[in-house]
Subunit: 349 residues, 2 copies
């Protein structure tokens, strides 16, 4: 490795002058400046950033701690963080929690031992209102930006999140504007703040339209395709006939659609199916859905902006970004008789 010292020796100048020349300090003779730069380039000099950091006390390092990169949501976020971080002169250190609190704690410590200037964290969910590692971060004054929703143990750190309530409300309004009046809701787990917000958005849109919320139209459905399929089964068994379904997410929506398609329903002619497009890119699916997409890239950009605020020593507030309604398929108006092909009542199954 070529060091400043080597360039100094070859140029007959001191290390200090070389350092200055290379950093473009203004109090170096232009001639020397050029000579040194040429020499450095020729010798293939690459500065040692950590040695510099040791002296200047800024490492130019940011840590990112996410459940897994294989989750497209976090991949998009990470891409945005890396691009914008790099533009601002920061390198990114990546670590995973795999949704395990022990891994989260040890990896946070590892990142701290690299002297990262800030941390982007997607906290592992806990029921407890306190988490030692987050107390530790507070105590140290570590700059933290949370990716996603708050939890009690980390409520004091700024965060970026999707406005799920608003997104959900938009979706319901869209269906209402098409004339749908019997909209089933396939809800996610009640403990999840996102799920709660989405249900609330649905409720509020109905109320704002002067309609009562019919609890028989609300099904518990989890977050997986299989959950959506199950909920659709229940819906059929209970003889509920909505003209539209609004699902917790696109996977649930697809699960539901699969079941209905298998029973001969047509989508979106017989029923409009909608959901949040968080997990998979619904565009590739053959099931016609209208979705609300997480503004993933914008979330990443916002997170980096918050971090830069923190690094400047400012006080920053978390941000809520509206989701993007991607209207693709639920444009059909409700039919007089939805769900055409159903077992004849005489069958007595």
């Amino acid at each position: 490795m070529v060091r400043l010292k080597d360039i100094a020796a070859r140029s007959g100048l001191t290390v200090m002058t070389v350092s200055r020349a290379l950093r473009g300090a203004k109090d170096v003779a232009p001639a020397t400046q050029l000579r040194i730069r040429a020499l450095a380039a020729e010798m293939g000099y690459v500065p040692d950033v950590s040695a510099r950091g040791l002296r200047t006390r800024n490492t130019g390092l940011l840590g990112v701690l996410i459940p897994t990169v294989t989750d497209p949501l976090y991949a998009r976020l990470l891409l945005a963080l890396e691009e914008h971080g790099r533009a601002a002169g920061y390198d990114l250190l990546l670590a995973h929690t795999l949704r395990q609190t022990e891994l989260e704690a040890t990896n946070i410590l590892r990142l701290l031992s690299r002297r990262v200037e800030g941390l982007f964290l997607r906290p592992v969910y806990r029921f407890s209102p306190e988490a030692p590692i987050y107390a530790e971060l507070r105590r140290r004054g570590t700059r933290v930006v949370l990716l996603g929703h708050h939890a009690p143990f980390c409520a004091d750190f700024p965060n970026v999140e999707t406005d799920d309530l608003d997104g959900s409300r938009q979706l319901t309004r869209h269906l209402l504007s098409l004339g749908h009046r019997r909209i089933a809701f396939f809800a996610g787990p009640a403990v999840s703040p996102a799920a709660a917000e989405r249900l609330e958005g649905y409720r509020r849109a109905l109320q704002e339209a002067g309609m009562a919320v019919d609890d028989r139209l609300v099904f518990n459905a989890g977050v997986e395709m299989a959950d959506g399929a199950q909920a659709a089964q229940r819906l059929l068994e209970e003889g509920i006939e909505p003209t539209a379904i609004q699902a917790m997410n696109d996977l649930v929506a697809i699960g539901a659609a699969n079941v209905l398609l298998a029973r001969g329903w047509r989508v979106p002619e017989d029923i409009s199916i909608t959901g949040f497009g968080n997990i998979l890119t619904s565009e590739h699916f053959r099931v016609p859905l209208t979705t609300v997409r997480q503004p993933k890239h914008r979330l990443g950009v916002a997170a980096m902006e918050l971090m830069q605020g923190l690094l400047r020593g400012e006080h920053v507030e978390g941000r809520r970004l509206a989701g993007e309604l991607a209207i693709r398929a639920s444009t059909a108006r409700p039919r007089a008789t939805p769900g055409l092909p159903r077992p004849a009542p005489a069958q007595g199954v």
Copy 2:
């Protein structure tokens, strides 16, 4: 930040003794050992890894340079790299090329300025047999493991890759074993080594079965869904009636399937459609496909193993890993009259 110095002051010992105690050197009095450790824990000491690295000349840092994390293939690879790297004591620095050679070069230099001990690179494709940045890496003796196939300008670095030829051959053999004799092949761009290998695998399987390769069954189809759809259109227009299609990848396969399904063909009853499952998890699609999956996780593990070999100063050879045949839907034997519903010949369109 708590430093060794602070602990030394509080304990009345020297920095050196504290350092030794914390690292568990055996020539420290057990009593001191315990006392120091307790004190360090209490004070929340976290060692400064880069300062240590400055002295010991190992940074414990590895760099990863990929096109984008949002590509699930690289996300899986990255996950494996991070997990196994961390277990071996390495932290990962992430950077993107976005398939741009300029970004690739500047980001490689950035990673080098962090004094990474090794680099995992997915080279940006070039036609030129030489690339200055790779020459530079060679010159410096940087430890490099390539992710994916070689190109002329980086042929001397060890790599990990999927054995596409073998995977493709497996797929064709599978179709042959079901009795298919007219298997269309939707090929990727000829310049891509992966595409060339897959075509060759198909050819070889046919030859090994004593069958001639019928060039009319081979279509140029690119790598996107739209390419598959176009190729399927051409196939229909040319009146070719295969009993199976083997596609460059799952997207192409899905594109083809969409067109055929729209024309009333049933999959896999009327035709078996297969492809490499590199890009998207075909399981979620409603199109029944049989795929060959990249052994992504294993590729990551292998890459880390190669890197560790390099770090130990060993000479390492690249590795070719066989893909995994995921037989899901192309289990149907060919029908006497494939592609049932087609325009009546009298129509004269």
